[in-house]
Protein backbone atom coordinates (compact mmCIF):
# COMPACT_ATOMS: atom_id res chain seq x y z
CA UNK A 1 0.00 0.00 0.00
CA UNK A 2 2.65 2.52 0.96
CA UNK A 3 4.68 1.57 -2.06
CA UNK A 4 1.75 2.46 -4.34
CA UNK A 5 1.30 5.86 -2.69
CA UNK A 6 5.03 6.63 -2.97
CA UNK A 7 5.19 5.70 -6.66
CA UNK A 8 2.05 7.72 -7.44
CA UNK A 9 3.60 10.77 -5.80
CA UNK A 10 6.80 10.32 -7.80
CA UNK A 11 4.89 10.09 -11.10
CA UNK A 12 2.81 13.16 -10.30
CA UNK A 13 5.92 15.07 -9.33
CA UNK A 14 7.56 14.16 -12.64
CA UNK A 15 4.51 15.28 -14.59
CA UNK A 16 4.31 18.62 -12.81
CA UNK A 17 8.02 19.25 -13.26
CA UNK A 18 7.62 18.59 -17.01
CA UNK A 19 4.67 20.93 -17.20
CA UNK A 20 6.44 23.71 -15.37
CA UNK A 21 9.53 23.25 -17.50
CA UNK A 22 7.41 23.57 -20.63
CA UNK A 23 5.54 26.65 -19.47
CA UNK A 24 8.60 28.39 -18.02
CA UNK A 25 11.17 27.91 -20.72
CA UNK A 26 9.90 27.07 -24.16
CA UNK A 27 6.49 28.70 -24.54
CA UNK A 28 5.73 31.84 -22.55
CA UNK A 29 3.04 32.64 -25.11
CA UNK A 30 1.86 29.09 -25.56
CA UNK A 31 -1.83 28.58 -25.33
CA UNK A 32 -2.05 24.81 -25.33
CA UNK A 33 -3.53 22.96 -22.37
CA UNK A 34 -0.36 21.06 -21.63
CA UNK A 35 1.78 24.17 -21.38
CA UNK A 36 -0.66 25.84 -19.01
CA UNK A 37 -0.17 22.94 -16.63
CA UNK A 38 -3.52 21.38 -17.26
CA UNK A 39 -2.99 17.91 -15.88
CA UNK A 40 -6.07 15.84 -16.47
CA UNK A 41 -7.47 18.04 -19.24
CA UNK A 42 -7.76 16.37 -22.64
CA UNK A 43 -4.48 17.30 -24.31
CA UNK A 44 -4.07 18.39 -27.89
CA UNK A 45 -1.25 16.94 -29.93
CA UNK A 46 1.02 19.89 -30.67
CA UNK A 47 2.20 19.61 -34.21
CA UNK A 48 3.73 23.02 -34.61
CA UNK A 49 7.24 21.71 -34.07
CA UNK A 50 9.79 24.44 -33.66
CA UNK A 51 7.63 27.17 -35.08
CA UNK A 52 7.42 30.26 -32.91
CA UNK A 53 4.10 31.02 -31.25
CA UNK A 54 3.17 34.61 -32.09
CA UNK A 55 -0.37 35.07 -30.88
CA UNK A 56 -3.66 33.63 -29.76
CA UNK A 57 -4.83 32.46 -33.15
CA UNK A 58 -8.46 31.89 -33.87
CA UNK A 59 -9.21 29.35 -31.14
CA UNK A 60 -6.35 29.48 -28.70
CA UNK A 61 -4.56 26.43 -30.07
CA UNK A 62 -1.07 26.69 -31.63
CA UNK A 63 -2.21 26.18 -35.22
CA UNK A 64 -1.64 27.86 -38.52
CA UNK A 65 -4.44 28.83 -40.88
CA UNK A 66 -4.95 31.45 -43.59
CA UNK A 67 -8.12 33.28 -42.58
CA UNK A 68 -9.24 36.72 -43.63
CA UNK A 69 -11.03 37.32 -40.35
CA UNK A 70 -8.08 36.12 -38.23
CA UNK A 71 -5.12 37.51 -40.12
CA UNK A 72 -2.42 36.64 -37.57
CA UNK A 73 -2.32 32.89 -36.86
CA UNK A 74 -1.02 31.45 -33.59
CA UNK A 75 2.28 30.17 -34.99
CA UNK A 76 4.60 31.27 -37.74
CA UNK A 77 4.40 29.31 -40.95
CA UNK A 78 8.01 28.18 -41.19
CA UNK A 79 10.51 27.14 -38.54
CA UNK A 80 13.27 29.64 -37.93
CA UNK A 81 16.69 29.12 -39.46
CA UNK A 82 19.88 31.16 -39.20
CA UNK A 83 19.06 33.20 -42.28
CA UNK A 84 15.69 34.29 -40.92
CA UNK A 85 17.18 35.14 -37.56
CA UNK A 86 19.52 37.57 -39.29
CA UNK A 87 16.62 39.17 -41.12
CA UNK A 88 14.58 39.41 -37.92
CA UNK A 89 17.34 41.38 -36.32
CA UNK A 90 17.42 43.66 -39.33
CA UNK A 91 13.65 43.97 -39.09
CA UNK A 92 13.96 45.51 -35.68
CA UNK A 93 15.65 48.52 -37.25
CA UNK A 94 14.50 50.86 -39.96
CA UNK A 95 12.16 49.09 -42.38
CA UNK A 96 13.15 51.39 -45.21
CA UNK A 97 16.56 49.73 -45.13
CA UNK A 98 15.09 46.31 -45.98
CA UNK A 99 15.21 45.33 -49.64
CA UNK A 100 12.10 44.08 -51.39
CA UNK A 101 13.40 40.50 -51.42
CA UNK A 102 14.07 40.63 -47.70
CA UNK A 103 10.57 41.84 -47.00
CA UNK A 104 9.23 39.00 -49.13
CA UNK A 105 11.46 36.54 -47.29
CA UNK A 106 10.22 37.75 -43.92
CA UNK A 107 6.62 37.60 -45.02
CA UNK A 108 6.85 34.09 -46.41
CA UNK A 109 8.60 32.90 -43.25
CA UNK A 110 5.57 33.89 -41.20
CA UNK A 111 2.72 33.44 -43.65
CA UNK A 112 1.86 30.80 -46.21
CA UNK A 113 -0.30 32.83 -48.59
CA UNK A 114 -0.86 36.51 -49.19
CA UNK A 115 -4.33 37.98 -48.92
CA UNK A 116 -4.63 38.09 -52.68
CA UNK A 117 -3.70 34.42 -52.92
CA UNK A 118 -6.04 33.54 -50.05
CA UNK A 119 -9.01 35.23 -51.63
CA UNK A 120 -8.34 34.14 -55.21
CA UNK A 121 -11.32 32.51 -56.94
CA UNK A 122 -11.25 28.74 -56.80
CA UNK A 123 -13.64 27.88 -59.58
CA UNK A 124 -15.58 25.72 -57.15
CA UNK A 125 -18.81 27.07 -58.55
CA UNK A 126 -18.28 25.05 -61.71
CA UNK A 127 -18.18 21.85 -59.68
CA UNK A 128 -21.27 22.82 -57.75
CA UNK A 129 -23.22 23.83 -60.85
CA UNK A 130 -22.21 20.68 -62.70
CA UNK A 131 -23.15 18.48 -59.79
CA UNK A 132 -26.50 20.20 -59.42
CA UNK A 133 -27.34 19.79 -63.09
CA UNK A 134 -26.31 16.14 -62.93
CA UNK A 135 -28.64 15.56 -60.00
CA UNK A 136 -31.49 17.34 -61.81
CA UNK A 137 -31.00 15.22 -64.92
CA UNK A 138 -31.10 12.05 -62.83
CA UNK A 139 -34.37 13.28 -61.36
CA UNK A 140 -35.77 13.76 -64.85
CA UNK A 141 -34.74 10.20 -65.81
CA UNK A 142 -36.48 8.88 -62.71
CA UNK A 143 -39.64 10.74 -63.66
CA UNK A 144 -39.56 9.30 -67.18
CA UNK A 145 -39.14 5.83 -65.76
CA UNK A 146 -42.15 6.38 -63.52
CA UNK A 147 -44.24 7.67 -66.41
CA UNK A 148 -43.50 4.63 -68.57
CA UNK A 149 -43.55 1.83 -66.01
CA UNK A 150 -45.44 2.95 -62.93
CA UNK A 151 -48.23 5.44 -63.59
CA UNK A 152 -51.62 4.28 -64.83
CA UNK A 153 -53.21 5.66 -67.97
CA UNK A 154 -54.81 9.12 -67.81
CA UNK A 155 -58.60 9.00 -67.31
CA UNK A 156 -61.06 9.25 -70.16
CA UNK A 157 -62.29 12.67 -69.08
CA UNK A 158 -58.89 14.12 -69.97
CA UNK A 159 -57.92 12.11 -73.02
CA UNK A 160 -61.27 12.01 -74.82
CA UNK A 161 -61.54 15.21 -76.95
CA UNK A 162 -65.37 15.21 -76.99
CA UNK A 163 -65.54 15.12 -73.23
CA UNK A 164 -62.92 17.85 -72.92
CA UNK A 165 -64.81 20.02 -75.38
CA UNK A 166 -68.05 19.56 -73.43
CA UNK A 167 -66.30 20.59 -70.22
CA UNK A 168 -64.81 23.71 -71.79
CA UNK A 169 -68.16 24.61 -73.34
CA UNK A 170 -69.74 24.41 -69.89
CA UNK A 171 -67.02 26.71 -68.52
CA UNK A 172 -67.78 29.28 -71.21
CA UNK A 173 -71.55 29.04 -70.66
CA UNK A 174 -71.17 29.58 -66.95
CA UNK A 175 -68.81 32.49 -67.63
CA UNK A 176 -66.09 31.03 -65.39
CA UNK A 177 -63.33 33.60 -64.74
CA UNK A 178 -64.92 36.06 -67.15
CA UNK A 179 -62.53 38.97 -66.51
CA UNK A 180 -59.09 37.47 -67.08
CA UNK A 181 -59.59 33.71 -67.26
CA UNK A 182 -60.95 31.17 -69.68
CA UNK A 183 -64.36 32.76 -70.35
CA UNK A 184 -62.63 36.01 -71.29
CA UNK A 185 -60.69 34.28 -74.08
CA UNK A 186 -63.85 33.38 -75.99
CA UNK A 187 -65.26 35.76 -78.61
CA UNK A 188 -69.02 35.67 -77.92
CA UNK A 189 -70.07 37.43 -81.10
CA UNK A 190 -68.16 35.24 -83.47
CA UNK A 191 -68.48 32.03 -81.48
CA UNK A 192 -64.78 31.18 -81.51
CA UNK A 193 -61.61 31.76 -79.50
CA UNK A 194 -60.07 35.20 -79.52
CA UNK A 195 -56.53 35.55 -80.80
Amino acid sequence: MEMHIVSMATVTGTLLRRCSRLSAAAAPLSTSARALGGGGLPTVVERHGNRMVIGYGFNGEPNYIDRVDYPIPAVRFKEDNAQIKVLREKERGDWKKLTKEEVQELYRATFCRSFAEMQAPTGEWKLVLGGTMLACSIAVWIYLFMKVFVYEKLPDTITNPEKVEAQVQRMIDLRMNPVQGIASEWDYEKGQWKN
Partner: protein, 75 residues
Amino acid sequence: MSLAKPQMRNLLQAAIKKNLAITAGVTTAAVAAYYFLVKAPRKQKYAEFYKNYDAEAEFERMRKLGLFQACSKDD
Protein backbone atom coordinates in the same frame (compact mmCIF):
# COMPACT_ATOMS: atom_id res chain seq x y z
CA MET B 1 4.51 54.89 -53.91
CA SER B 2 1.79 55.37 -51.32
CA LEU B 3 -1.80 54.25 -51.37
CA ALA B 4 -4.71 56.17 -49.92
CA LYS B 5 -5.41 55.11 -46.35
CA PRO B 6 -8.28 52.63 -46.39
CA GLN B 7 -11.31 53.05 -44.17
CA MET B 8 -10.36 51.59 -40.83
CA ARG B 9 -13.47 51.97 -38.67
CA ASN B 10 -17.23 51.55 -38.83
CA LEU B 11 -17.03 49.17 -41.76
CA LEU B 12 -20.08 47.20 -40.65
CA GLN B 13 -22.16 50.33 -40.13
CA ALA B 14 -21.20 51.64 -43.53
CA ALA B 15 -22.08 48.31 -45.10
CA ILE B 16 -25.43 48.22 -43.31
CA LYS B 17 -26.33 51.75 -44.42
CA LYS B 18 -25.45 50.90 -48.01
CA ASN B 19 -27.50 47.72 -47.85
CA LEU B 20 -30.50 49.56 -46.39
CA ALA B 21 -30.36 52.13 -49.16
CA ILE B 22 -30.20 49.43 -51.83
CA THR B 23 -33.05 47.55 -50.15
CA ALA B 24 -35.23 50.64 -50.09
CA GLY B 25 -34.55 51.34 -53.76
CA VAL B 26 -35.11 47.80 -55.00
CA THR B 27 -38.30 47.23 -53.02
CA THR B 28 -39.75 50.55 -54.16
CA ALA B 29 -38.99 49.67 -57.75
CA ALA B 30 -40.49 46.21 -57.37
CA VAL B 31 -43.67 47.45 -55.75
CA ALA B 32 -44.06 50.26 -58.29
CA ALA B 33 -43.61 47.81 -61.14
CA TYR B 34 -46.17 45.42 -59.69
CA TYR B 35 -48.67 48.24 -59.11
CA PHE B 36 -48.44 49.72 -62.59
CA LEU B 37 -48.04 46.52 -64.55
CA VAL B 38 -50.36 44.15 -62.69
CA LYS B 39 -52.65 45.78 -60.17
CA ALA B 40 -53.87 48.84 -62.05
CA PRO B 41 -54.73 46.99 -65.31
CA ARG B 42 -56.51 44.27 -63.39
CA LYS B 43 -58.60 46.82 -61.50
CA GLN B 44 -59.43 48.48 -64.82
CA LYS B 45 -60.54 45.21 -66.41
CA TYR B 46 -62.83 44.38 -63.51
CA ALA B 47 -64.35 47.86 -63.59
CA GLU B 48 -65.07 47.56 -67.31
CA PHE B 49 -66.60 44.11 -66.94
CA TYR B 50 -68.97 45.05 -64.17
CA LYS B 51 -69.98 48.47 -65.53
CA ASN B 52 -72.81 47.08 -67.68
CA TYR B 53 -73.21 43.67 -66.06
CA ASP B 54 -76.79 42.42 -65.77
CA ALA B 55 -76.76 39.58 -63.27
CA GLU B 56 -80.44 38.65 -63.79
CA ALA B 57 -80.02 38.28 -67.54
CA GLU B 58 -76.95 36.12 -67.11
CA PHE B 59 -78.78 33.96 -64.58
CA GLU B 60 -81.75 33.44 -66.92
CA ARG B 61 -79.43 32.53 -69.78
CA MET B 62 -77.61 29.93 -67.72
CA ARG B 63 -80.84 28.54 -66.29
CA LYS B 64 -82.35 28.03 -69.71
CA LEU B 65 -79.24 26.11 -70.75
CA GLY B 66 -79.98 23.71 -67.90
CA LEU B 67 -76.69 24.36 -66.12
CA PHE B 68 -78.20 24.67 -62.62
CA GLN B 69 -79.03 21.75 -60.36
CA ALA B 70 -81.47 23.66 -58.15
CA CYS B 71 -83.37 25.61 -60.81
CA SER B 72 -85.35 23.89 -63.59
CA LYS B 73 -84.87 25.02 -67.17
CA ASP B 74 -88.57 25.18 -67.96
CA ASP B 75 -90.50 28.37 -67.24
